[in-house]
């Protein structure tokens, strides 16, 4: 399972970086989205995977029994997803505005005058 998730997050990183190297604004933004999702998956995987053992105390016990799923990476991923979503929404609006102002979605046209 770890291997599968590691591969998935690697593929997301690679696809994200490839798209960010393209010249079109939309591809750049999709690339950013993939990159941030790859990162989220990485945090989740690096924190260790434990299936079917939620970190909840059984009735009448005071200490969690090992092994249990670590709640911290899940909290981190949750925060990162929210932040990533906000930033993605912002960059979409920004790209729309850039397109309105510049009249092109080619990154190379940004620096050109006129």
């Amino acid at each position: 399972m770890e291997l599968l998730l590691a591969l998935a997050s690697g593929v997301l990183y690679a696809a994200g970086i490839y798209l960010m190297l393209r010249r079109r604004l939309v591809q750049l933004i999709i690339g950013l989205g993939l990159l941030s999702n790859g990162t989220n998956l990485l945090i989740f995987t690096a924190g260790g995977l434990t299936r079917g053992r939620p970190p909840v105390l059984a009735e009448g016990t005071a200490v969690l029994q090992q092994p249990y799923a670590d709640p911290v990476p899940q909290a981190l991923v949750l925060t990162a997803i929210v932040i990533g979503f906000g930033l993605l929404a912002f960059s979409l609006v920004l790209a729309h505005r850039v397109h309105d102002t510049v009249g092109s979605d080619d990154v190379d046209d940004l620096g050109r005058d006129g």
Binding site: M20, L25, L28, L32, L35, S36, T39, L42, I43, F44, T45, A46, G47, G48, D70, V72, P73, L76, T79, A80, I83, G86, L87, F90, S91, L94, A95, R97, V98, D100, T101, V102, V107, L110, G111
Partner: protein, 492 residues
């Protein structure tokens, strides 16, 4: 609970500003009041830290390393005071007029959010929390930068947003791997756990990821190209707060991770940082000499001087680190001030390009003399604060045995002097045709410049206690025990 104030005050000011009438006057006054309260609370924290040592707040009383910890050691406390000073100056500048579009779309609350993000980044004791503050600060800066539809601003904003999002992704990747390797992101707990966990390979990968992420934010060679491409486009007040505070957060993060985590662990990494800093200094200042636009010259000087602080950080001796702290403080005040000076030039002549300037010493002698203070302080002319900062760095470098670093700082200092002398001569001294002023320089703007210049002079006069303070701050950073004990208690 005092430590929460630099975060709560701007947050509540921003909330009030969003509810308050959208007319300029109430907005400006509320914003200024918020900034002054922020400054007062920062000074109170600083006095407490100065007297009683490292201060810690565990949010919601969750014990470290499980909850979020706020920590103020001397470095953090001094920097939060600097945030208060810059915030007050910027809020004051708004009285001489903000672009009406920006003001209507939330300029004032955004500045407050930006200040909150910077203060939070300085005070947090948790790396993931640092990431969150980075994002708070960045989103506010993104909107401030993009709140206009002119072509150069759109271009600059897009570059700025993209590179910063990439840096954030790298930072977050490093955090995920770090948690996987150590099981904690609390800085003090990491400092304790770091040497015992993982293989050298893991250490190197993490260290390089952090180095790249923070170097993009701080603007180190070869990752600084976004900075001169974007900082000269927004209005002067926004440029001032970006230049004064945002890159310094990157430097602060580098200082934190290098002193707490990578301390004495990987000589190769320290060499990498030193080489990057040396290249930053030289390339930044050489590029500054090729520019003739006031704000572009400042951008490249900003980049070059970041190299000073990271070069002396990489030496990791108390004297060099004290020099870095002193220089960061000097630089925050002076570079903010210079961007505000560029704002006056913009109002007088509608341009900051050398071709449209000149003759200001003849037209406005008092302002020309006032502008000499930050310009020649940045140049490092004795006895101003820039000279003292450089002196501390050079002394630190020579006493650490890194003679070539000291020599390089001196050579780059000469280039800075050249660049600043030309800047002053281009804008103030050079004879120019009689051109009528487009607008008045703006009394509040000049008042803010005067305030910051007075602080520069005060830093010069009070150099002795200030240097002693920076030395104590540096010792505290290198003797990590006080920080770690304050957060976690005695070692088990």
């Amino acid at each position: 609970m005092m430590l929460v104030l630099p975060i709560l005050v701007p947050l509540s000011t921003a909330a009030v500003l969003m509810l308050a009438p959208k007319r300029p006057n109430p907005q400006r006054w509320i914003s200024l009041a918020g900034a002054v309260v922020l400054l007062a609370s920062a000074i109170a924290i600083f006095l407490r830290v100065n007297e009683a040592g490292v201060q810690v707040v565990q949010i919601s009383a969750w014990p470290a390393p499980f909850g979020i910890t706020l920590v103020a050691d001397l470095l953090a406390a001094i920097l939060v005071v600097a945030v208060g000073v810059v915030g007050t100056a910027i809020a004051g500048v708004a009285f001489s007029g903000v672009d009406p579009r920006r003001e209507a779309f939330g300029y004032h609350p955004l500045v407050q959010i930006l200040l909150m993000g910077v203060a939070g980044a300085f005070l947090t004791g948790d790396l993931f929390n640092l990431y969150v503050w980075f994002e708070v600060m960045l989103v506010a800066s993104f909107v401030l930068m993009a709140l206009n539809r002119t072509r150069p601003q759109m271009e600059a904003a897009f570059k700025y947003v993209t590179i910063n999002l990439i840096a954030s992704s790298i930072f977050l990747t490093a955090l995920g791997l770090l948690y996987g390797a150590t099981g904690t992101l609390n800085m003090a707990a990491l400092a304790r756990a770091w040497p015992t966990v993982g293989s050298p390979g893991v250490h190197t990968v993490l260290a390089v990821l952090f180095l790249i992420a923070f170097s993009i934010k701080a603007g180190l060679f070869p990752l600084f190209f976004w900075l001169p491409a974007s900082y000269h486009t927004p209005p002067a007040a926004i440029g001032a707060v970006f230049a004064g505070l945002l890159t310094k957060v990157g430097v602060y993060a580098l200082i934190r991770v290098f002193t707490l985590l990578f301390h004495g662990q990987s000589p190769a990494l320290v060499w990498l940082l030193l080489a990057m800093s040396a290249a930053t200094m030289v390339i930044g200042l050489v590029a500054a000499l090729t520019e003739r636009d006031f704000r572009r010259v400042l951008s490249f000087n900003l980049v070059g001087h970041i190299g000073y602080t990271t070069a002396s950080l990489s030496l990791l001796t108390p004297a060099a680190l004290a020099g870095a702290i002193l220089y960061v403080l000097h630089h925050i005040v002076v570079i903010t001030n210079l961007y505000l000076v560029s704002g006056v030039l913009l109002r007088l002549r509608r341009t900051t390009d050398a071709a449209g300037l000149g003759g200001l010493y003849r037209d406005r002698p008092a302002f020309a003399v006032l502008a000499m203070i930050p310009i020649f302080s940045l140049a490092g002319v004795p006895p101003l604060s820039g000279f003292l900062g450089k002196l501390a760095i050079v002394e630190g470098a020579f006493s650490a045995g890194a003679h070539w670093v000291g020599g390089l700082v001196l050579v780059v200092g000469l280039l800075t002097l050249l660049s600043m002398a030309r800047l002053w001569s281009d804008s103030f001294w050079r004879p120019a045709a009689d051109t009528p002023d487009f607008a008045s320089p703006g009394a509040p703007l000049v008042a803010a410049i005067t305030l910051l210049s007075l602080i520069t002079v005060a830093m010069t006069v009070g150099a002795e206690p200030l240097f002693a303070l920076a030395s104590r701050g540096a010792h505290q950073l290198l003797q990590r025990d006080e920080y770690i004990r304050a957060v976690l208690g005695e070692a088990p």
